[in-house]
């Protein structure tokens, strides 16, 4: 099976042109601090930098990536930095909706066997008397209808439901889409800023130029 068709799920690839006249050595020197973070190892051979990360810090600007390759290619129009980065977090987030769908199915199955106690078996208690202080302060009287027991905030009649699992499947689908686009853009601008020294304020300008 050719993984090239699906590896975009956890690979972030891109390229950006180097400043005219910028050498490979100068470019990698500028990028060097990004790979001198806790839990990061890297190796530079010729025009290729390979790195790997383990237990990377939460605030590491490349924390979402676990490894990758950065290569500088020389062409007629000038040098270009090409990168191919691997993110287990993106893969995990892509798979999470499936996990929650499985949990939803599992919940549905066991909910069938989770029958609430028979109505007759339930003890019929007299409605709770309201405390005079609450009466004086104007709090509504307790709901004594059966319906109130199902969703009244207490634990009576609480059933297991598959709805939260479906909800989180949806949340993670959205989260993956956001992450796949956001992290792609963030790393592009991080490399660009590091190589060219562009301030953050130019992000939107750069984005519009790209599109």
């Amino acid at each position: 099976m050719n993984l090239r068709f699906i590896d975009w799920i956890w690979h972030v690839r891109g390229s950006l042109p180097l400043v005219h006249g910028q050498s490979s050595n100068d470019a990698f020197d500028r990028l060097d601090p990004l790979f001198r973070q806790t839990g990061t190892s890297h190796q530079l051979t010729n025009d290729t930098l390979t790195f790997a990360k383990k237990d990377q810090a939460a605030q590491d600007k490349m924390s979402v990536f676990d490894g990758g390759v950065l290569r500088i290619e020389k062409g007629a129009a000038g040098s270009v930095l090409r990168y191919d980065l691997i993110s287990r977090a993106l893969l995990f987030c892509f798979l999470a909706p499936f996990l929650f769908l499985v949990i939803a199915q599992f919940t549905t199955v066991i909910a069938k066997y989770d029958k609430p106690p028979h109505e007759a078996a339930k003890k019929h208690k007299p409605p709770a008397a309201m405390n005079p202080i609450d009466k004086a302060l104007g709090a509504p009287a307790p709901d004594t209808s059966k319906k109130g027991d199902d969703d009244g905030g207490g634990k009576k009649g609480k059933k297991i439901s598959a709805t939260p699992a479906y909800f989180f499947a949806g949340i993670f689908t959205a989260l993956y889409l956001v992450g796949r686009i956001l992290e792609d853009r963030l790393i592009y601008f991080l490399f660009r800023k590091t190589l060219v020294g562009e301030p953050d304020a130019h992000w939107f300008l750069a984005m519009s130029k790209q599109s």
């Binding site: 605030q59 949990i103 609450d134 104007g138 709090a139 989260l175």
Partner: protein, 330 residues
């Protein structure tokens, strides 16, 4: 590092911490911003209590509480962006995804487990064994007292469970995972090994019969006090608030890389329980976590208590060898 003496203990000898309210930075900015971040916490607490106290029965439902919880936490996430306590705790996409995964587990798998073997089931078993009924007199108390007692009884139990986790190795193993978090954000309270999350959720509330409305008020108290344990927002909490309630300052100290600092502030919502038992330290920390702030992956968070327990067991059962034998093996 010299550390600061608090009672008989030396806090901050291993990692930087700030001790004493007078040393903690205040909210910076104009009068409106300072006003908002001083009165936000009490306003939300009293507003939600009033809402649940007077809401008609058609609205006073668990589903309403769920949506209020989601809305309130979303608002707090917004505040994290507006007024962060520390830039070094800023929420990233990866951190948000990790936290939400645990929130998801809490609402799904853990809920199922608790449904079958949780605190309420255990209490029911005990009541059945002793042929005892719930303490029905509880429902006759004023609503606010019921709500406070529900929250207090749960927090009191949680205090001792939490303190036990920091003092007994078999309980520390599942809890230790939660202490590997390196920053505090709204959903960080959900991050931990599922065994610990199950244990910390156990309570004895099932012994009492209470009005559903009291449970909703109690939930609102937990939401508008307990949530601030894990939050990256700088507040000027009023004096009375930080005397009674747990704050992110207290809890950051509990998560600090300093060993003595981490053995303080065990309560969930009511820090006065810590004051009662002499474990409260007023202060804060920025550098959090274990092993110098090593961030644990989700995979390791799931397996760590078991692999460490296995290592500990192997260490105990390993036959003692003479030094000469050890040299030969090496």
């Amino acid at each position: 590092m010299a550390g600061v003496r608090v009672g008989k203990r030396m806090i901050g000898a291993q990692a930087p911490v700030t001790i004493g309210w007078e040393n903690i930075p205040k909210v910076e900015g104009g009068p409106v911003k300072r006003f908002i971040f001083t009165w936000f916490q009490p306003t939300m607490l009293f507003a939600l209590i009033a809402f649940w106290y007077y809401a008609p029965n058609s609205i006073a439902k668990a589903s309403t509480a769920l949506w209020i919880g989601i809305g309130f936490k979303s608002l707090l996430l917004g505040l994290e962006w507006v007024n962060p306590r520390f830039r070094s705790w800023q929420l990233t996409w990866k951190e948000a995804a990790t936290d939400l995964f645990y929130v998801g587990l809490g609402y799904t798998l853990l809920r199922i487990v608790s449904h079958y073997i949780g605190g309420d089931v255990m209490v029911k078993g005990i009541q059945h064994y002793f042929q005892a009924d719930k303490f029905a007199w509880f429902t006759g108390l004023p609503l606010l007292l019921q709500a406070f007692l529900i929250a207090f009884i749960f927090d009191f139990g949680q205090y001792w469970m939490h303190r036990g986790m920091h003092n007994w190795y078999p309980l520390w193993l599942p809890h230790s995972v939660h202490h590997y978090i390196t920053q505090l954000n709204i959903n960080k309270g959900a991050v931990g090994n599922p065994v610990e999350l199950f244990l910390i959720g156990l309570g004895i509330g099932g012994f009492f019969d209470f009005l559903p409305r009291a449970a909703l008020i109690s939930g609102a108290v937990g939401l508008t006090i307990g949530t601030y344990q894990h939050i990256n927002v700088r507040f000027n909490s009023p004096k009375w608030w930080r005397f009674l309630f747990n704050t992110t300052e207290h809890h950051s100290l509990h998560h600090s890389q300093d060993f003595e600092g981490s053995r303080s502030n065990f309560a969930g919502s009511f820090i006065f329980i810590d004051r009662m038992f002499g474990t409260c330290v007023d202060g804060e920390a920025e550098l959090l976590g274990m092993e110098g702030g090593r961030r644990m992956s989700i995979r390791e968070q799931m397996t760590y208590p078991f692999t460490e327990a296995w290592k500990a067991l192997k260490g105990r059962t390993r036959p003692v060898m003479a030094p000469a034998e050890e040299e030969n093996i090496a």
